[in-house]
Symmetry: C2
């Protein structure tokens, strides 16, 4: 059990900070548990006991970094809102840093909880955009539909086909999910 205000919390914060610092100083591949422990002012065994593995620790830190830090902008209409969000999402996730975080989040993930959290972040953002549009009286697709037809294709290509991803692709996906019926010849 993690005690929110006690020593455990201090150790966790210190270790997470050490990971972020060292990752930016030495590069992600140079990280080792003893190195992180030293920077955090902690013994390696503490990290091994709490996280079990460097990959699990990196997964934890990655999920923190994948949490969106801004709410989707309001451009007055659903197509503009969703397009802007998708473009920003793709831009962040397709970058080398974004890819590394996604891989780390998926990697050291014993029960799939971290990956599920990432998906939940995107779902929240989309739900916010769709709810706002519905409040304006616009017809909106389902959140699941947007995830299937916009988020999933972007993620698939980020993970499996690193080439040829740009804002135009995000625009096409959004246009596809918002098109009521076959106006994409």
């Amino acid at each position: 059990m993690v005690r929110p205000g006690g020593r455990s919390a201090r150790v966790q914060a210190s270790v997470h900070a050490a990971v972020r610092e060292l990752a930016s100083e030495l590069g992600r591949d140079a990280l080792t548990v003893p190195l992180v422990a030293q920077r955090a002012g902690v013994t390696p065994s503490t990290i091994y006991r709490r996280w079990g593995d460097l990959q699990v620790l990196l997964s934890d830190v990655a999920v923190e970094r994948l949490r969106p830090d801004t709410t989707p902008g309001d451009h007055g209409a659903l197509p503009a809102d969703l397009t802007a969000w998708a473009e920003q999402f793709l831009d962040e996730m397709a970058s080398p840093a974004g890819r590394a975080y996604i891989r780390d989040a998926l990697l050291g993930d014993p029960d799939g909880g971290n990956a599920g959290q990432c998906s939940a972040y995107a779902a929240e953002q989309i739900d916010l955009v769709l709810t706002r549009a519905a409040g304006r009286g616009e017809r909106t697709p389902d959140v699941e539909t947007v995830i299937d037809q916009v988020v999933a294709p972007m993620m698939y290509r980020i993970l499996f086909r690193p080439d040829g991803l740009d804002a135009a692709y995000a625009q096409r996906l959004v246009a596809g999910v918002l098109a009521p019926a076959g106006d994409t010849p």
Copy 2:
């Protein structure tokens, strides 16, 4: 440079075989480089030099296992062909073993080549199904469209949302990509 018929090829085959054997005997998590090396009749340093890392080696083996071993069945019509293929794909990939292979393939993948190979396998199968349908005179969607709207959503859910995946989901995705226009109220 890998010499196809020489000692390098024998070593590679021997190491790959050792990984498969030990993975089924001891479990995937019990694998270590020295263990694999001993079973393969090779020194550990050989594996480290060639693959650099246990994860890279596992990625190599995983891609081999993700290669489809059967050609998609011919059911006489595109909807039936594509549905059958998607159901089988989802079934194989969503299983615990399939998930483990996908993770391994993505993880130890320095340049993204292995992941790209996985995607290429699926694209080949889909292209075969679509080409056959086009030969019958049926109207067919683009391969890229099928990947975006069928393969990508399945993969996304396999990786990020381990729950609630069944054949019905695959059927819905295929129905969606084959529907000419908004007949999914």
